[in-house]
Symmetry: C2
Subunit: 217 residues, 2 copies
């Protein structure tokens, strides 16, 4: 059975995984400081560390799980762009330029319809007005037997947790106190009971948590 997975979700020690107000200047809504603990270059493998002066660390090993065996992603609208309401005619094609990192179909949850976008590297964005269950079913078909990644942000991941659709989460708790923002954990007390959690501290100062859903739950 394919999995539904969450990867490399960074959060502060007080539980915030994004800021409150996404703008073009602040894609993580004011929580940009989280990103300094992240190395997005290794998401398709550590071979991206072409400079051998950059060590192969446990942090990077865990970040490299992101792309392994993934056939599609589902993301919230705010991960795709800062707009709200009906889509403006602004030529927006996502934050990532013409080489988005996904290289698979990506399903963007939005109440507003829009034509899909296609990129030469295999990435495509499709816009869905759907529940978590419906979106996952569509993404699983597109994934062709591979796993589906729930790409965030935190409120999108929470929506899939509430629907009990997440099989695996890789969370990264960074030593940073944000004080405000969007928490993954709002309104889902006790959610840990559905999972077995492995915690690993690394020399980078972060704690990686691997949440694997208990079987039979």
């Amino acid at each position: 059975m394919p999995r539904t997975r969450v990867h490399s979700m960074l959060m502060s020690v007080d539980g915030f995984a994004a800021g409150n107000h996404v703008t073009v200047q602040e894609p993580i809504g004011g929580a940009e400081a989280l990103a300094s603990w992240y190395d997005g270059r290794v998401i398709h493998g550590i071979q991206a560390l072409s400079d051998s002066a950059e060590p192969i660390t446990a942090d990077r090993a865990l970040f490299s799980l992101w792309g392994q065996g993934i056939g599609a992603e589902i993301m919230g609208r705010r991960k795709f762009g800062p707009q709200s309401g009906p889509w403006p005619e602004d030529g927006w094609r996502g934050w990532w330029g013409e080489d988005p990192p996904f290289r698979t179909p990506v399903f963007v949850l939005s109440h507003y319809p829009r034509e899909p976008l296609h990129f030469a590297n295999g990435t495509s964005f499709h816009f869905l007005d759907a529940t978590a269950h419906q979106a996952l079913q569509i993404a699983q078909q597109a994934a062709g037997g591979l796993d589906v990644r729930i790409g965030g942000g935190p409120s999108t991941v929470r929506q899939f947790l509430e629907a009990d659709l997440i099989d695996f989460m890789h969370l990264v708790i960074v030593p940073l106190v944000l004080g405000t923002g969007v928490s993954l954990w709002d309104g889902i007390p006790g959610i840990q009971q559905r999972f077995t959690v492995e915690s690993i501290g690394t020399s980078g100062g972060v704690t990686h948590q691997l949440w694997n859903r208990n079987r039979g739950d």
Copy 2:
């Protein structure tokens, strides 16, 4: 600059990474107990865990580094087979059957020449009577800009350490006392001074060590 890497080298807490006598029945020479801490299925990625009842663990994340960005392997003769002396006409094609895990050129260090072997999945075995430096040069050419893995056994890795040719090692120290066998560390006291070592304990009971060579040494 491509790296020369060692991956998933399991060793007992008393430092032994192989037993003394390799036979067809005992490919690790009596140290087979080491292998129970290993999951070889994930060496090309965690998508091999097709049964979602098997958790994605930190151990498996680290084992999945094995194939990332590797273009060739160098191995000692005992990793290829139990024979010694001139090659017998025994039809031996390695321990792995017709689907060897390597999927790249593999260079087997042997004083006895032999025709190369080719497999449909991209693996080929080439037999070299060469020093560590010479073998690495040949393997790097075959790797086409990707990294070269030194595949073991421990005495082969030690030979490359003595020649100061190793950039990265992933060692896995398992809670097992063997008492006898082949140690990686024989005759190279102080070798750790050339490396920065990160150690990670996991819930599996093992310690992973990531040895990254210091630059400028």
